[in-house]
């Protein structure tokens, strides 16, 4: 009890005197940063949990790209289950001259079987739940779609060969998935209208779903029945299967944000370590005095621990509250990407907040504070008596254990933690070495500088370790921001510039083979660029070298996706200009009848394919086998129809597929698209620019969220600066007093401080700009295959931003050094 009282009283007093303010602030920043992300991701996870039963819009959902056997529905009805159908496909809708890409969904009566649709009378008006679907001739449109087309509810939309009237705004579908939404907006129509649109043709990119719901017993039995009877290409989903997938994708996003928040935690931890060291140093006397008056080592230790626990509780609570507020910011930034109402945040994130505070304190503040327990009591008589120094193993052991512990808590994957720890350690070490070199490189300037500048530069050099810590802290924060703000745009511009001016901007798919010539004529008659129609066939890979793919283990999720989904194939006589052979030979004897296949290199790597391998495809129920005779590299961003798998001519002649083409249309040529759709209603037009701008929109939003989280990193960087300034404040006051006693004006002292912090900021900015440019360079070369030339704006923004930010923050933090009367400092007999 007395320990508690003594400890708390002393802590309260230290708080009042500003002694532990930086420590407390740094911890609050760390906790707020980690809990803001934690609360937000917990809400998304909660939404997934809550909607688990609704997420399919049914208890069971059978999906396929092909028409499914009506026997499934008959069997379900016989077993007393309710059924519904939904057909979805990408399409383009028109309102006058405006067009937009949509995810067209046609539903039958009864949809959804679980959960309810929500609709509104106008965009952004309060939504209400309804039973039922749009009637024939009607459509419910996503508000994003109406906004994009610039039309109100009540407008008529052209969908393929049919016209529907938008009667409601579609606010929510149970099966839209939670977390991050599809790119395109939904248009929901009645299944009875689908035929009239004439959009569904052999080979169209259509997904069909059969929904089943009923009592749990019959549903279970029916599930067993379906599992035994479904055909290749048909996928059965139940509630248990559906939510983990969504959870996995939102988990990944959440993990990424958590790691971003870890950067702030690490920097805050540096600030905590710096303040704790100073705190311990300043409390050696009082610990010695208490020991002198009979306090045991245990008592001093208990006091220290009590204070740490109190600080953890206070900062954990305040930080968590701030995190709770800050997550609303994240929600707002991502409001268009996160669909549906999110449930309130869960309380268990508060534990993460408290845990972060405890772990950071234990790892970074406890080791220096342990010194208090070890201070010799005779220090009351001889102030130069210090506690025995802590072993480095203790200091760094605690810190490393704390960081690894936190990472493991956030990421929950030991191997990933090992990689991350190596990555983080490497980055910090690299930045540290660069910082140290920069500090050393300042020496030659000192002799040539004026008094104020010499004083400033000398300060940076003399407080080498603190200077490096500040350089790393600000360098890291600024680097990430530069990377996100400028380098990202540079890369996008660079990529755009790498595209030819006449790169196709429209894809046309679903062209019936018998209409191919008519479509070509349509183009030539209107003076539009000539189109090259490429055959496209939907097929599924079933065997590799006679081994069923179901029995094979492909390391990556992407590879599994390749074999589980139906793939698009083509056949060609000649190698296309935007393809390059990297192995094997192209078929030189056209129509020899020998079944050969050329495979894209990355596809081959993912599936472990080699020249000579035999691939068996199921093409509309027919089995087609071909031998791999070449590997290709494909320049995908030529925006021309390209395929992972190309067959030799003659093999797929009997198969009905569709044709696909791409074309570049100027703004004045675009109205022709309306005529094209009227004449060939089943042709689906994909607007690449619209698609790209949607991708960009999503990227912008996501980047904004990441930037928001890295805002905490800058705040943590400021804490490092404050900690460093506080650690040296007495020394600075003494120096300032000495300088002024020796005749320096306040202005000279002020200029010296300004020089010190501006140079620190300048160097941090330089470090950040270098880091961001190097990272941008590697991203460009290794990930995006682009030539990247560093943008001078990155350097300008980095250096100026750093100098301004650190310069002004440093001056603000040290202003008392200049304003403090020198006589007061000297009288205290420093």
């Amino acid at each position: 009890m007395r320990t508690l009282r003594l400890a708390l009283r002393s802590l309260l007093r230290d708080l009042k005197s500003g002694e532990v303010v930086v420590l407390v602030l740094a911890l609050i920043v760390a906790v707020a940063s980690i809990t803001a992300v934690g609360f937000f991701t917990s809400r998304i996870a909660g939404a997934i949990e809550r909607q688990a039963s609704e997420v399919l819009g049914a208890d069971l959902r059978l999906e396929s790209a092909r028409e499914m056997d009506p026997a499934y529905e008959e069997e379900a009805a016989r077993r007393g289950l309710r059924t519904a159908r939904i057909v979805s496909m990408p399409s383009v809708v028109f309102a006058g001259d405006e067009s937009s890409l949509v995810a067209l969904r046609a539903a039958s009566e009864g949809y959804p079987l679980r959960g309810r649709l929500k609709i509104a009378d106008a965009p952004f008006e309060p939504a209400r739940a309804v039973d039922g679907i749009p009637g024939p001739g009607e459509a419910w449109a996503d508000s994003r779609l109406l906004a994009r087309l610039g039309v109100p509810v009540g407008s008529k939309l052209g969908v393929g060969a049919h016209t529907v009237t938008v009667t409601q705004v579609l606010d929510y579908r149970p099966d839209q998935g939670s977390g991050f939404a599809d790119l395109s907006a939904t248009l929901l129509i009645n299944l009875k209208d689908l035929g009239k649109t004439e959009l569904v043709q052999p080979g169209s990119r259509v997904r069909r779903a059969l929904l089943f719901a009923g009592e749990s017993g019959p549903v279970e039995n029916f599930r067993d029945y379906l599992e035994a009877t479904i055909r290749p290409g048909e996928r059965l989903q139940s509630v248990e299967d559906a939510s983990p997938q969504i959870r996995a994708s939102s988990d990944r996003a959440g993990r990424f944000l958590s790691l971003a928040s870890m950067a702030s935690v690490l920097l805050a931890a540096i600030a905590v370590a710096m303040t704790a060291r100073r705190y311990a140093q300043r409390h050696l006397d009082s610990a010695a005095l208490q020991k002198c008056m009979g306090a045991s080592q245990g008592l001093v230790l208990r006091q220290t621990l009590t204070q740490l626990v109190a600080v953890a509780l206070v900062t954990g609570s305040i930080g968590t509250l701030l995190g709770l507020l800050a997550q609303f910011g994240l929600e707002w930034l991502l409001r268009d990407l996160v669909r549906g109402d999110l449930p309130p945040p869960t309380a268990d994130v508060a534990w993460l907040g408290l845990g972060t505070s405890v772990v950071v304190l234990t790892g970074f503040a406890l080791p220096p504070m342990l010194q208090l327990k070890r201070v010799p009591p005779a220090r009351v008589l001889r102030r130069n008596l210090e506690p025995p120094p802590l072993r480095y193993a203790v200091v760094y052991g605690f810190a490393v254990a704390a960081v690894l512990g936190l990472l493991l808590w956030l990421v929950k994957d030991a191997r990933l933690v090992a990689y991350l720890a190596a990555g983080i350690g490497g980055t910090f070490a690299l930045l540290g070495v660069a910082g140290a070199l920069m500090v050393r490189s300042l020496a030659p300037f000192r002799s040539r500088a004026s008094v104020a500048w010499r004083y400033g530069l000398a300060n940076i050099a003399r407080r080498g370790r603190e200077s490096i810590a500040q350089l790393v802290a600000f360098g890291l924060g600024l680097m990430v921001l530069l990377l996100l703000l400028l380098v990202r745009d540079d890369l996008l511009d660079e990529w755009k510039a790498s595209l030819p001016r006449d790169a196709p901007n429209y894809f046309m798919i679903n062209i019936r083979p018998d209409e191919g010539e008519a479509v070509s004529r349509f183009f030539s008659e209107r003076g539009l660029p000539a189109t090259e129609l490429v055959p496209m066939i939907r097929a599924r890979l079933v065997r590799i070298n006679e081994l069923p793919v179901e029995d094979m283990d492909f390391g990556s999720e992407r590879a599994r996706g390749f074999v589980e989904r139906e793939a698009n194939l083509t056949w060609a006589e000649r190698l296309r200009a935007d393809n390059r052979l990297v192995a094997g030979r192209w078929w030189d004897a056209p129509r020899s009848g020998r079944a050969e296949v050329s495979v894209e290199r990355e596809y081959a790597e993912l599936l472990g394919l080699q020249l000579g391998d035999e691939l068996e495809y199921d093409v509309a129920g027919e089995s087609v086998t071909a031998r791999v005779t070449s590997l290709r590299e494909v320049q995908w961003d030529s925006f021309r129809p390209n395929f992972f798998v190309v067959f030799s001519p003659g093999v797929l002649d009997d198969v009905t597929g569709t044709l696909i083409t791409s074309v570049h249309l100027g703004p004045d040529q675009r109205p022709a698209l309306v005529d094209l759709v009227r004449e060939f209603p089943e042709v689906t037009i994909i607007d690449i620019e619209a698609l790209l701008s949607q991708v960009r929109e999503v990227m912008d939003k996501a980047t904004l969220a990441v930037e928001y989280v890295f805002g905490f990193t800058l705040a943590a960087g400021l804490m490092v600066l404050l900690a460093a300034v506080q650690a040296t404040r007495d020394e600075r006051r003494y120096e300032s007093a000495m300088l002024r006693t020796l005749g320096a004006s306040r202005r000279v002292v002020f200029q010296g401080l300004a020089a010190e912090f501006t140079v620190l900021g300048l160097l941090a900015g330089l470090l950040a700009a270098t880091g961001a440019s190097v990272a941008g360079f590697f991203l460009a070369r290794e990930v995006f295959n682009l030539d990247y030339s560093p943008d001078p704006a990155v350097w300008l923004a980095g250096i100026l931003g750093g100098a301004l930010l650190v310069g002004s923050a440093g001056l603000l933090a040290t202003r008392s050094v200049v304003t403090h009367p020198p006589v007061a400092t000297l009288r205290r007999n420093y």
Partner: protein, 233 residues
């Protein structure tokens, strides 16, 4: 010497052949050599000597703040030289009070809280009442709520004296108690200390350069180069 012998002779503090050596770059350095002394209950003893004579080291050893390299020290019946740090802390809590040259008040505590501190450390429930009374006795009842920085040097030392006497220690150790005070203030503060010493029967051991102050003590032990060179009653 056994505890029983100490009782009989009424010796409260004794040192037998105490040595203190420290390791330095030049090798082992003897700070105190073969120091033996007995101090009776209620005595007032001044330890004097030039700077570097080992006065403060001897005080630290006698008060159990430090461990001797050799020899034995008994304080209030306990052989503190054979104890570990926590054992000595317990003896200090029960039997010892301190007054320092630089007062050593905790800046974060008020005058009253500073005086309460040793009582609270000893687990005394009447800490508040006892500390209030002790402050009254040093004439600072009106300054209870003041923080050290709001007090003059003399007032701070009076708070320190109240703190030293409040536990009713057997021995009060003072290290240059007037070193940071002007002559007049120093004298008044010492009047107070000797007055309390007489009133409570506490044994007083003080280290000083101040001849006048040493002269007020019943016994003066002179130290030079780590050895006792004079012991006069």
């Amino acid at each position: 010497m056994s505890a029983r012998q100490m009782e009989r002779n009424d010796t409260v503090l004794s040192a037998a052949e105490v040595r203190k050596e420290v390791n330095s770059p030049e090798g082992t350095l003897a700070i105190l050599s073969e120091v033996s002394l007995d101090i009776d209950r209620g005595d007032s003893v001044a330890i004097v000597g030039p700077s570097g004579a080992g006065k403060s080291t001897l005080l630290a050893l006698l008060a159990g703040l430090d461990e001797p390299t050799g020899g034995s020290i008994h304080l209030a019946g306990h052989e503190i030289s054979a104890m570990d740090e926590d054992g000595r802390a317990a003896v200090r809590a029960g039997h010892v009070g301190f007054v320092f040259q630089s007062f050593h008040l905790l800046p974060s505590l008020t005058a009253l809280e500073n005086v309460m501190l040793p009582l609270e450390l000893a687990g005394r429930r009447d800490a508040h009442a006892a500390a209030t009374e002790a402050l009254d006795r040093v004439g600072l009842s009106g300054r209870r709520g003041h923080y050290p920085r709001q007090l003059s040097g003399g007032e701070q030392q009076r708070v320190a004296i109240a703190r030293a006497f409040v536990t009713g220690p057997d021995v009060l150790f003072a290290d240059e108690p007037t070193g940071n005070l002007d002559a007049g203030t120093g004298e008044r503060v010492m009047d107070l200390m000797f007055g309390l010493n007489a009133a409570t029967g506490t044994t007083l051991v003080l280290v000083t350069h101040d001849r006048a102050l040493a002269g007020r003590c019943g016994r003066v032990i002179a130290l030079d180069a780590g050895r006792i060179v004079g012991d006069a009653a």
